[in-house]
């Protein structure tokens, strides 16, 4: 933050999420950088959803559903856990959760970075389309289901059916994978992948602390891309 940053405080115990979001939506691209401190979030839904300005929103406690959803440009920091669909459909910017995230974290997101300090539940990165997700804990079942682009980096373990029906996203997992979903396979970890992983460590501020070679890479076997005539009778 530079010296000219304006700071605002919003207490959700005496103003509504709608009031907060209306004020944040009024900030457009090109507006001055500002810092918004949100207190008493109490697990309310849709906090800081739909932002489109290079601002920082710090939320002091756990949030409910869709926090930082559809985010563009903004940085949203959650000092607590997050409910369903944090940063869903994010386009750019950064959403960081200190605690655990519920299911469908980063779902369908096109860009930006999502960092989860704890565990993410089921369906993390479902249908992701370009987002970079870093989970410092583990992810639940059906994570990266139908993932199309982007990266999912998991420092812990992955649950059942990782990467089911995946297109082109890259999945990096350090721990165990309970099972791989349809058409998802382990792939060779080449230097370019280690370099990419190192860039993800930088996003999470842990570069130099973890060895990229501890991770395995998973991706698409590309056998579901095209109709195969042997399957004609299945339709």
């Amino acid at each position: 933050m530079n010296a000219g940053t304006q700071s605002h405080a919003v207490d959700l115990s005496n103003s509504t999420v709608r009031e907060l979001n209306t004020a944040l939506h009024a900030l457009k691209a090109g507006s001055n950088a500002s810092l918004w401190r949100v207190t008493n979030p109490g697990g309310l839904h849709a906090i800081a959803a739909g932002l489109d300005a290079p601002i920082t929103v710090e939320v002091d406690g756990p949030v409910g559903y869709y926090c930082g959803g559809m985010n563009k440009q903004a940085t949203v920091l959650v000092k607590g856990s997050a409910g369903v669909g944090v940063a869903e459909n994010m386009m750019s910017g950064l959403v960081e959760v200190e605690g655990d995230a519920s299911q469908a974290a980063g779902a369908t997101a096109h860009g930006g970075t999502l960092i989860i300090g704890g565990n993410a539940a089921a369906r993390c990165g479902i249908s992701m389309k370009g987002i970079d997700i870093v989970v410092k804990g583990s992810v639940g079942h059906m994570s990266a289901f139908m993932a199309q682009a982007g990266t999912l980096t998991v420092f812990g373990d992955a649950g059942e059916a990782l990467g089911d029906s995946i297109y082109e996203a890259r999945l990096y997992v350090r721990g165990s994978v309970k099972s791989l979903g349809a058409d998802c396979i382990e792939k060779e970890m080449r230097d370019e992948h280690k370099a990419q992983l190192f860039e993800r460590f930088k996003l999470a501020g842990v570069e130099g602390q973890i060895d990229p070679s501890e991770f395995k890479r998973y991706g698409s076997a590309r056998t579901l891309y095209h109709f195969h005539v042997d399957n004609a009778s299945a339709y």
Binding site: G43, P62, G83, D100
Partner: protein
């Protein structure tokens, strides 16, 4: 949709606050279930006596019923419900007598410690009518209902109790409840409604009657119950949580040195004392969680 909550107190000093905490949790879950609400509280027991929770229509003369029953029962009335404290040896006779002289009265719960209340209306109004916030106890569970597939009636409200000191609240829907119901009937478990959630309660009662612990009974249900569910269950000394393997229905838990709390959403937990330093996590799919006072 529906909202469910549960609270298991670890620090006895907090027991007088159980009802107040549970009431506030229930009220926050109103937007998940504004049709009806219910709760069960595990309060103090009296040696050698059993509490029967009775339900009847508005304005029912429970005191008159007590006179008809005779014996040495004591009665606490709460609006459409009343708790009758009966000497253990007289329980079966009292139940039979109620069915004879007052068929309009339903025995909704029975046990050494459990009291169970449910009614149509906003959760705040239901909790207020029965003075939940004044109740003391070691653990309790609650439910706010948004009916999707059956009528808004008191009978369709949760919790369901199918055994002494046992009760369950459910968010979800079971798909094989007809089949399980037939099996339970063969095993002699009696169910009072057509509700799928009551089948889940009955299933756990049956497993525990077969000698399984609460945790084991919950694990058994993973193999036998099909459908969507998050369950929160209570027994005389225990408190359990189970989510189905798909885990579509939301759940969040918090634990401190003083309590374990469950909510459909974090909002329900946000008002609890010390929540800012609690361990907050989402219970994993297909994993039985349970706590027991006796083990603690």
């Amino acid at each position: 949709m529906c909202g469910i909550v549960g609270l298991f107190i670890k620090d006895k000093a907090l027991e007088p606050k159980l009802g107040e905490m549970l009431s506030q949790m229930l009220e926050v879950m109103t937007d998940r279930g504004p049709d009806s609400a219910g709760f069960a509280v595990y309060g103090a027991s009296e040696p050698g006596r059993v509490k029967l929770t009775l339900r009847a229509s508005e304005g029912y003369d429970f005191a008159g019923l007590k006179d008809k029953l005779g014996g040495s029962s004591t009665l606490i009335e709460r609006e459409t419900h009343a708790v009758l404290s009966v000497p253990e040896a007289e329980v079966d006779a009292v139940k039979t007598r109620i069915a004879e002289v007052a068929p309009e009265v339903t025995v909704v719960g029975s046990g050494a410690r459990m009291e169970l209340y449910k009614e149509v209306g906003l959760p705040r109004d239901v909790a207020g009518r029965f003075k939940l916030s004044e109740m003391s106890g070691s653990h309790g569970i609650g439910h706010t209902r948004m009916a999707t597939e059956s009528a808004v009636t008191t009978n369709g409200a949760h919790p369901f109790s199918t055994g002494d000191d046992q009760c369950l609240v459910h968010n979800g829907s079971l798909s094989n409840h007809r089949g399980v119901r037939r099996e339970l009937e063969r095993q002699g478990v009696s169910l009072k409604t057509d509700n799928d959630s009551e089948v889940a309660a009955g299933y756990l009662t049956w497993r525990m009657n077969e000698g399984r612990s609460l945790g084991e009974a919950l694990e058994d249900s993973l193999g036998d119950l099909d459908g969507f569910y998050t369950f929160v269950v209570g027994t005389e000394s225990g408190f359990g949580v189970l989510r189905d393997p798909i885990a579509c229905k939301p759940a969040v838990m918090a634990e401190t040195d003083q309590y374990v709390a469950f909510g459909s959403e974090y909002r329900a937990l946000a008002g609890l004392p010390g929540i800012e330093n609690a361990r907050v996590w989402e219970p994993e799919p297909a994993k039985a969680y349970f706590w027991d006072r006796k083990a603690a």
